[in-house]
Amino acid sequence: MRNRLKRNMRNKTVPETILFTVVFVIFVIYAVSLVLPFLWAFLSSLKTDDEFYEAVFALPKDWLFINYVNAFKEFKIGNTTMIGMIINSLWLTFAGTFVTVMISSGTGYILAKYPFKGSKIIYDIAIISMIIPIVGSLPATYKVVTTLHLNTPITILVLYTGGFGYNFIILNGCYRSISWQYAEASMIDGASHFRTYMKVMLPQARPAILAMAILSCIGIWNDYYTPFLYLKGYPTLALGIYQFDIIQEQRSNMPIYFCAIILSIIPILIVYTVFQDTIMNNSVAGGLKG
């Protein structure tokens, strides 16, 4: 009896089977629509410029992998070559991620484990600031950044030192759940507050910090908005692709544009393959913007 019930539950009714088949077909179409553009871009990156315009669909006549070599020389914005853009992107990605994660970890830790006068108020203010929908703070932010000369690759890191955002909430919760006894034991052994934090407490939050760092890296690598506003003279790869698309009207070289696109997504795809579960099983992923 029970077995039959179980089988009934597992077997789908006829209309349900039809429904699932229809949805499956829709899913396949949608999935193909997501993957095909990248395949098309890859094929286009191996063509000559004329071929790209004349035969949009055809496979490349000769598979010109040399285009990728040329892209390193010819994909240029101002004086910055592709190599320069990649260096700018890598710097901003790793330095920005380091700053943003370490700052949030610090605030999260202090407000979880070091209660002081006003610490509760700071926490409440952080939450409230996240909820208020502020529309037009860009003009004033832009003015501050330009007056303080923060628009260079090193000083721009100041923009990543916000410690009271979403990352803070997650890490704060994380540190709250770690027992203080570990820290106590370490301090009885003579370790300072800082050493205890770095060597004992922070490693215990590693899963959350790692997930956050990966997502932050992806976010900064993809970000075109901050470089567009503040780092026009130091284009990252994302900004370079954007600017190349605009100046193309004068001197067209589409295959190289596609080379840059493919090169820019390769690191992302590698990280995605390696850390797929970390990226997708974390509630932080919901906030990731394309």
């Binding site: 993957v35 502020i134 030192t161 934090y197 993809n222």
Partner: protein, 312 residues
């Protein structure tokens, strides 16, 4: 502590030691908090105070004067439907409707079928999340080229209809905005999918099994059991998109820079700032912040009161 410790010595200096301990603790707190607190004071407190002040200012040849002119200009301009600012407000509503009325239900359905382990659900999950981890620059760049006047989409249509079709998808006052909205829909399922499937997986299995035994259909299961049970997640997402109605800029910078009737509020403000105008966009920002605060508060109240939090 070793038995040889001199307790008299210890108590004599204990106050000093305790003070030292306190100072060390305070220094540690200060070291970790000073930068983020300064950042908050500059980029939240000062920036917003400055925004509010600028909304009531105007730079003239005699210097800066205090005035309501930015607001009167705004109220004058929104009445003229051809102007960028009116187009922007309309487009922000369109973006909002695309995201909530169309996007969210589709995303829920998509998550539901993945949760139900439709054939190939693992691969679908990985592919459907792709747009969320690839830069908007790349996605828009590809999309634009595919919809280019002599691009693949027109080529396919030409083959299907057996005649030359050259629709100007990306440079037309009437269709470009809808192409962009479709892009947002097409590339916008990833984040929601992760959150909703995550929430669905936390629903206890036996609840759904009992419902199945009572002959509950898939549709009723989704609407009457799953959606109420993931309501905390769903309502938070809806609240985010409601509070973002006027903030959203969409991918306009990448697509059209506001040409062809595709202006949005976020991009309008950006364009003004790029052009060296600060006071007028600050006034627009302040106006919409004041409009959206009560909207957000009221929606929060409605969400919290209509459906009680379900504990499980």
């Amino acid at each position: 502590m070793s038995p040889k410790t001199n307790f008299a010595y210890y108590s004599k200096y204990s106050r000093k030691i305790r003070r030292n301990v306190k100072i060390k603790r305070d220094l540690f707190i200060l070291a970790l908090m000073i930068i983020p607190v300064l950042n908050y004071l500059v980029f939240f407190v000062y920036v917003n105070a400055r925004s509010i002040a600028m909304a009531f200012q105007m730079t003239t040849s005699q210097g800066t004067i205090w005035t309501f002119d930015n607001f009167t200009r705004f109220f004058r301009e929104v009445q003229i439907p051809e102007l960028d600012i009116s187009v922007a407000i309309k487009n922000n509503f369109l973006l909002f409707i695309e995201g909530t009325v169309i996007g969210t239900p589709l995303c829920l359905l998509l998550s539901y079928f993945l949760y139900k382990k439709i054939k190939g659900y693992r691969i679908f999950r990985v592919i459907f999340f792709l747009p969320s981890i690839i830069s908007g620059v790349v996605l828009v760049g590809l999309y634009k080229n595919i919809f280019a006047t002599n691009g693949p989409v027109n080529e396919i249509l030409s083959i299907i209809f057996q005649r030359q079709i050259s629709i100007e998808w990306m440079v037309d006052d009437n269709i470009t905005m809808y192409c962009i909205l479709f892009f947002c829909l097409w590339s916008g399922f990833g984040g929601g999918m992760i959150l909703y499937t995550g929430a669905m997986n936390r629903i206890p299995k036996d609840v759904l099994e009992y419902a199945k035994l009572d002959g509950c259909s898939s549709f009723r299961e989704l609407v009457q059991i799953i959606i109420p049970m993931i309501w905390p997640t769903l309502s938070t997402q809806l609240l985010f998109s409601i509070s973002g109605i006027f903030v959203a800029s969409g991918p306009i910078l990448l697509f059209t820079k506001g040409q062809f009737k595709t202006m949005t509020l976020g991009y309008f403000i950006l364009e003004q700032v790029e052009g060296g105008s600060y006071e007028y966009p600050s006034a627009i920002g302040l106006f919409f912040t004041l409009v959206s605060i009560p909207i957000v508060l009221i929606t929060r109240k409605i969400f919290n009161s209509t459906i009680e939090d379900i504990q499980y």
